[in-house]
Symmetry: C2
Subunit: 227 residues, 2 copies
DNA sequence: CTAATAGTGTCTATCAGACATTATTAT
DNA sequence: ATAATAATGTCTGATAGACACTATTAG
């Protein structure tokens, strides 16, 4: 319920946890802060909403990610909003946090030391409350990974079942049974064969698949995140 | 990444979708707007964040719900943030939306026509983008209802398995098999008997249970929201 | 007795997980 | 032939869903 004008509005920003897969490892994109507060500390890429330019908050984070990571057309989902008096030393602030899943090849940034890909399991301490945001993002990714086709967002449009299984394993952090994985994924009827094959050194060629339509949520679980 | 001060911040508000159970029906709390825009239209209860008074956004919505619905100590979860230039005719705005689950007896409001409980399946058209927020809230509630103990939040501290099943059925919008429900709920080991019984007219007394600890997410599904 | 809800027992189709086996390529 | 990955086959224990049955109260 938007209303009156007697109260000052808190500073509104957007931040993103950008996941990608590199060497079968789950990594995320960090940005080194040039200025105070938390100068030189790693932080999530983000920025201030431009009310004259951004149609909504999602617009704002897409603009910023295109600027900082040279990427567009990726999976993006709102994580939640982090707010309060304590999270920024400059005062009451509010950040709408997003989670993005990007294939490694779509990321294009200057490797000048201000942007870096870090392994999710060995992150440095981050600025603001960004450690907490990353924790929430990893939980969400793991959770959704077990009942949706989310991990396919890390892959190119065409991929093999082996690629897909590796993506799921990286997301869930656990190995999956080869046979069960294939059986269940194919039973979900989300993939279609392209007709082509990928050939590699000294091995049987693998069928290439692509995602069928817009369906992305399963009824059956794929891996076992827990017991 | 909170930052500079050259851009104006959008108006920041909080709104809540307050669910409750009345006559085994899923209902939600609406508030009739006294002023423009959308004067006389039903809307979600909400209000502006008071940066001098509220520690964070959750604090703000709790303050407002206590004022408008006379309730506190209920289940509250952030739904998401709705933002943009179009959602409020007065300009770029941002609302952090919450979902609350409250037992009917804990709701205490004046029945003066400005606050009302409406059946979820027959809602009037709401102000702003509140129809969309309610839709998202119902989806979330249904989704979580099938793999968590969320629906128990509608009940008092002590309840029978029959009460619990009715809560699940109201949330999921479908009848559940009596025997399977009991078997699965008890297997989850989330409940403990109080030792007492509830007696009713012409029927066998039912054991009273309470929720055990803070656990609330299942590994097994309870109802079938889909197939 | 009956009505009403509480609570238990059992059968069956399905399916996840484990594991074994066969297939196809490059060297 | 061998190494490597792709793809298929089969067995088994667990369990969701359906349904029938028994238990305990008030009137």
């Amino acid at each position: 319920m938007p209303a009156s004008n007697s109260y000052p509005s808190p500073l509104a920003t957007v931040d993103a946890v950008v996941f990608t897969l590199e060497d079968d490892q789950l990594k995320l994109l960090l940005h080194r802060r040039p200025n105070d507060p938390y100068a030189d500390r790693w932080a999530l890429p983000g920025g201030v909403i431009h009310v004259d330019e951004d149609r909504d908050a999602e617009d704002a984070i897409r603009r910023i990610l295109t600027d900082k990571a040279g990427t567009s057309g990726f999976y993006l989902e709102q994580l939640g909003t982090y707010s309060g008096r304590e999270r920024d030393p400059r005062g009451w602030s509010l950040s709408i946090a997003y989670m993005a899943l990007v294939p490694r090849e779509k990321l294009d940034f200057l490797d000048d030391g201000t942007i870096s890909l870090e392994n999710v399991s060995s992150l440095p301490r981050l600025a603001f409350d960004h450690d907490r945001i990353v924790g929430d993002a990893v939980s969400r990714l793991r959770g959704k990974g077990s009942y949706s086709s989310l991990p396919a967002s890390f892959l190119d449009a065409e991929f093999t079942l082996g690629d897909l299984q590796k993506a799921y394993e990286a997301v869930l952090g656990a190995p999956l049974d080869h046979s069960s994985f294939r059986r269940k994924v194919l039973a979900l009827d989300l993939l279609e064969e392209t007709g082509a094959y990928r050939r590699g050194a000294r091995m049987r060629p693998a069928k290439l698949f692509r995602l069928k339509s817009g369906i992305s949520t399963f009824n059956r679980t794929l891996g076992a995140p827990e017991g």
